[in-house]
Protein backbone atom coordinates (compact mmCIF):
# COMPACT_ATOMS: atom_id res chain seq x y z
CA UNK A 1 0.00 0.00 0.00
CA UNK A 2 1.66 3.20 -1.13
CA UNK A 3 -0.32 5.30 1.35
CA UNK A 4 1.05 3.37 4.31
CA UNK A 5 4.15 4.51 6.14
CA UNK A 6 5.48 1.83 8.50
CA UNK A 7 8.81 2.00 10.28
CA UNK A 8 10.95 1.06 13.27
CA UNK A 9 13.01 4.11 14.16
CA UNK A 10 15.49 5.38 16.71
CA UNK A 11 13.54 8.60 17.23
CA UNK A 12 9.87 9.30 16.50
CA UNK A 13 9.52 12.36 14.27
CA UNK A 14 5.99 13.63 14.92
CA UNK A 15 6.25 16.45 12.36
CA UNK A 16 7.28 14.03 9.61
CA UNK A 17 4.40 11.70 10.51
CA UNK A 18 1.90 14.56 10.41
CA UNK A 19 3.20 15.65 7.01
CA UNK A 20 2.68 12.14 5.70
CA UNK A 21 -0.94 12.09 6.94
CA UNK A 22 -1.97 15.30 5.18
CA UNK A 23 -4.30 14.42 2.32
CA UNK A 24 -6.60 16.36 0.01
CA UNK A 25 -9.41 13.80 0.29
CA UNK A 26 -9.37 13.73 4.09
CA UNK A 27 -11.33 15.94 6.45
CA UNK A 28 -9.74 14.47 9.54
CA UNK A 29 -6.44 13.22 10.89
CA UNK A 30 -6.27 11.28 14.16
CA UNK A 31 -2.95 10.56 15.83
CA UNK A 32 -2.07 8.66 18.98
CA UNK A 33 1.38 8.98 20.53
CA UNK A 34 2.56 6.71 23.32
CA UNK A 35 5.03 8.45 25.61
CA UNK A 36 7.15 7.40 28.57
CA UNK A 37 5.49 8.34 31.83
CA UNK A 38 7.32 8.88 35.06
CA UNK A 39 5.36 6.51 37.28
CA UNK A 40 4.13 2.93 36.83
CA UNK A 41 2.13 1.59 39.78
CA UNK A 42 3.62 4.37 41.91
CA UNK A 43 7.20 3.37 41.09
CA UNK A 44 9.42 5.97 39.47
CA UNK A 45 10.58 4.96 35.99
CA UNK A 46 14.04 6.13 34.91
CA UNK A 47 13.73 5.00 31.30
CA UNK A 48 12.22 2.40 29.03
CA UNK A 49 14.24 0.20 26.71
CA UNK A 50 12.63 -1.14 23.55
CA UNK A 51 13.84 -4.03 21.49
CA UNK A 52 12.22 -5.20 18.24
CA UNK A 53 12.42 -8.24 15.99
CA UNK A 54 12.60 -5.77 13.17
CA UNK A 55 11.67 -7.76 10.03
CA UNK A 56 8.77 -9.44 11.76
CA UNK A 57 7.63 -6.25 13.52
CA UNK A 58 7.43 -4.47 10.17
CA UNK A 59 5.52 -7.43 8.68
CA UNK A 60 3.01 -7.33 11.52
CA UNK A 61 2.61 -3.55 11.42
CA UNK A 62 2.00 -3.79 7.67
CA UNK A 63 -0.69 -6.44 8.23
CA UNK A 64 -2.36 -4.30 10.90
CA UNK A 65 -2.38 -1.30 8.54
CA UNK A 66 -3.95 -3.46 5.83
CA UNK A 67 -6.60 -4.79 8.21
CA UNK A 68 -7.46 -1.22 9.17
CA UNK A 69 -7.81 -0.11 5.55
CA UNK A 70 -10.14 -3.05 4.94
CA UNK A 71 -12.34 -2.18 7.93
CA UNK A 72 -12.46 1.59 7.41
CA UNK A 73 -12.18 4.00 4.51
CA UNK A 74 -8.71 5.44 5.15
CA UNK A 75 -6.54 7.55 2.90
CA UNK A 76 -3.25 7.36 4.82
CA UNK A 77 -1.96 5.15 7.62
CA UNK A 78 1.21 5.60 9.65
CA UNK A 79 2.67 3.26 12.28
CA UNK A 80 6.13 4.04 13.69
CA UNK A 81 7.68 2.44 16.74
CA UNK A 82 10.90 3.50 18.41
CA UNK A 83 13.64 1.19 19.69
CA UNK A 84 16.43 1.82 22.18
CA UNK A 85 16.43 3.80 25.38
CA UNK A 86 13.61 6.29 25.89
CA UNK A 87 13.38 8.82 28.71
CA UNK A 88 10.32 10.29 30.45
CA UNK A 89 8.11 12.32 28.01
CA UNK A 90 9.78 10.85 24.91
CA UNK A 91 7.57 9.28 22.22
CA UNK A 92 7.83 5.50 21.85
CA UNK A 93 5.10 4.84 19.31
CA UNK A 94 2.94 6.86 16.94
CA UNK A 95 -0.06 5.66 14.97
CA UNK A 96 -2.18 7.89 12.76
CA UNK A 97 -4.71 7.86 9.96
CA UNK A 98 -6.43 10.30 7.67
CA UNK A 99 -9.93 9.78 6.37
CA UNK A 100 -12.83 11.70 4.90
CA UNK A 101 -14.73 11.40 8.18
CA UNK A 102 -13.81 11.51 11.85
CA UNK A 103 -15.64 8.35 12.95
CA UNK A 104 -13.29 6.27 10.80
CA UNK A 105 -10.29 8.30 12.04
CA UNK A 106 -10.92 7.63 15.70
CA UNK A 107 -11.95 4.01 15.36
CA UNK A 108 -9.08 3.07 13.07
CA UNK A 109 -6.50 4.90 15.17
CA UNK A 110 -7.69 3.07 18.27
CA UNK A 111 -7.59 -0.26 16.42
CA UNK A 112 -4.00 0.38 15.28
CA UNK A 113 -2.60 1.00 18.75
CA UNK A 114 -4.63 -1.76 20.44
CA UNK A 115 -3.64 -4.34 17.83
CA UNK A 116 -0.01 -3.23 17.76
CA UNK A 117 0.19 -3.78 21.52
CA UNK A 118 -1.17 -7.32 21.16
CA UNK A 119 0.81 -8.61 18.19
CA UNK A 120 3.86 -6.66 17.13
CA UNK A 121 7.09 -8.32 18.35
CA UNK A 122 8.52 -5.46 20.36
CA UNK A 123 9.57 -5.71 23.98
CA UNK A 124 9.71 -3.06 26.65
CA UNK A 125 11.97 -3.13 29.69
CA UNK A 126 11.11 -0.74 32.51
CA UNK A 127 14.24 0.55 34.22
CA UNK A 128 13.77 1.62 37.85
CA UNK A 129 16.47 2.87 40.24
CA UNK A 130 16.93 -0.59 41.80
CA UNK A 131 15.78 -3.09 39.13
CA UNK A 132 14.60 -3.57 35.57
CA UNK A 133 11.59 -5.57 34.39
CA UNK A 134 10.49 -6.94 30.99
CA UNK A 135 6.88 -5.75 30.91
CA UNK A 136 4.17 -8.47 30.70
CA UNK A 137 6.72 -11.32 30.68
CA UNK A 138 5.33 -12.97 33.81
CA UNK A 139 1.71 -13.48 34.89
Amino acid sequence: MKNTFIDIVDEIDTAQVYTHLIDAHSGGICVFVGTVREFTNNEQVISLEFEAYKTMAINEMQKIAEEATQKWSLNKVVIHHAVGLKKVTEAVVIVGVSSAHRDACFEACRFLIDTLKKRVPIWKKEVFSNKSVWVSAHP
Partner: protein
Protein backbone atom coordinates in the same frame (compact mmCIF):
# COMPACT_ATOMS: atom_id res chain seq x y z
CA UNK B 1 19.04 -25.37 14.42
CA UNK B 2 19.54 -21.73 15.39
CA UNK B 3 17.03 -19.67 17.40
CA UNK B 4 16.76 -15.88 17.52
CA UNK B 5 16.06 -14.58 21.02
CA UNK B 6 14.41 -11.36 22.19
CA UNK B 7 13.38 -9.66 25.40
CA UNK B 8 13.31 -11.90 28.43
CA UNK B 9 14.19 -14.97 26.29
CA UNK B 10 17.60 -13.40 25.75
CA UNK B 11 18.03 -13.00 29.52
CA UNK B 12 16.88 -16.56 30.26
CA UNK B 13 19.23 -18.19 27.75
CA UNK B 14 21.99 -15.58 27.99
CA UNK B 15 22.51 -14.33 24.45
CA UNK B 16 20.65 -13.19 21.36
CA UNK B 17 21.10 -16.47 19.44
CA UNK B 18 20.90 -20.05 20.66
CA UNK B 19 22.03 -23.12 18.75
CA UNK B 20 20.16 -26.30 19.75
CA UNK B 21 22.68 -28.85 21.06
CA UNK B 22 23.99 -30.72 17.98
CA UNK B 23 23.64 -34.11 19.69
CA UNK B 24 19.89 -33.65 20.34
CA UNK B 25 17.13 -34.70 17.95
CA UNK B 26 15.83 -31.72 15.93
CA UNK B 27 12.24 -30.73 16.78
CA UNK B 28 9.96 -31.56 13.86
CA UNK B 29 7.43 -28.83 14.69
CA UNK B 30 6.83 -25.76 16.87
CA UNK B 31 5.28 -27.70 19.74
CA UNK B 32 8.31 -29.99 20.00
CA UNK B 33 10.63 -26.98 19.98
CA UNK B 34 8.65 -25.41 22.84
CA UNK B 35 8.94 -28.64 24.87
CA UNK B 36 12.70 -28.80 24.30
CA UNK B 37 13.12 -25.18 25.38
CA UNK B 38 11.14 -25.67 28.59
CA UNK B 39 13.18 -28.79 29.38
CA UNK B 40 16.51 -27.02 28.80
CA UNK B 41 15.43 -23.74 30.44
CA UNK B 42 12.61 -24.24 32.98
CA UNK B 43 12.25 -20.43 33.29
CA UNK B 44 10.25 -20.52 30.04
CA UNK B 45 7.47 -22.34 31.88
CA UNK B 46 7.10 -19.34 34.20
CA UNK B 47 6.36 -16.85 31.39
CA UNK B 48 2.80 -15.64 30.77
CA UNK B 49 3.15 -17.37 27.39
CA UNK B 50 5.63 -17.60 24.55
CA UNK B 51 5.26 -17.98 20.82
CA UNK B 52 7.50 -19.10 18.00
CA UNK B 53 7.93 -17.26 14.71
CA UNK B 54 9.02 -19.03 11.56
CA UNK B 55 10.43 -16.81 8.81
CA UNK B 56 9.08 -13.68 10.52
CA UNK B 57 5.52 -14.99 10.91
CA UNK B 58 3.73 -16.30 13.98
CA UNK B 59 3.65 -20.12 13.75
CA UNK B 60 1.03 -22.57 15.04
CA UNK B 61 2.13 -25.42 17.30
CA UNK B 62 1.80 -27.96 14.49
CA UNK B 63 3.82 -25.97 11.95
CA UNK B 64 6.77 -28.04 10.65
CA UNK B 65 10.30 -26.68 11.11
CA UNK B 66 12.90 -26.85 8.33
CA UNK B 67 16.60 -26.63 9.01
CA UNK B 68 16.95 -23.39 7.00
CA UNK B 69 13.98 -21.58 8.54
CA UNK B 70 14.59 -18.40 10.51
CA UNK B 71 13.17 -19.41 13.88
CA UNK B 72 12.59 -16.89 16.66
CA UNK B 73 11.33 -17.21 20.24
CA UNK B 74 8.67 -14.57 20.94
CA UNK B 75 8.08 -13.96 24.64
CA UNK B 76 5.00 -11.85 25.58
CA UNK B 77 5.15 -8.67 23.50
CA UNK B 78 4.95 -5.28 25.21
CA UNK B 79 5.38 -2.64 22.56
CA UNK B 80 3.48 0.64 22.53
Amino acid sequence: MKLLLFGIAKDIIGGSVFELPSGSKHPKNVLELKHILVQLFPEFAKLSSFAVAVNSQYAHDDEALQINDEIAIIPPVSGG
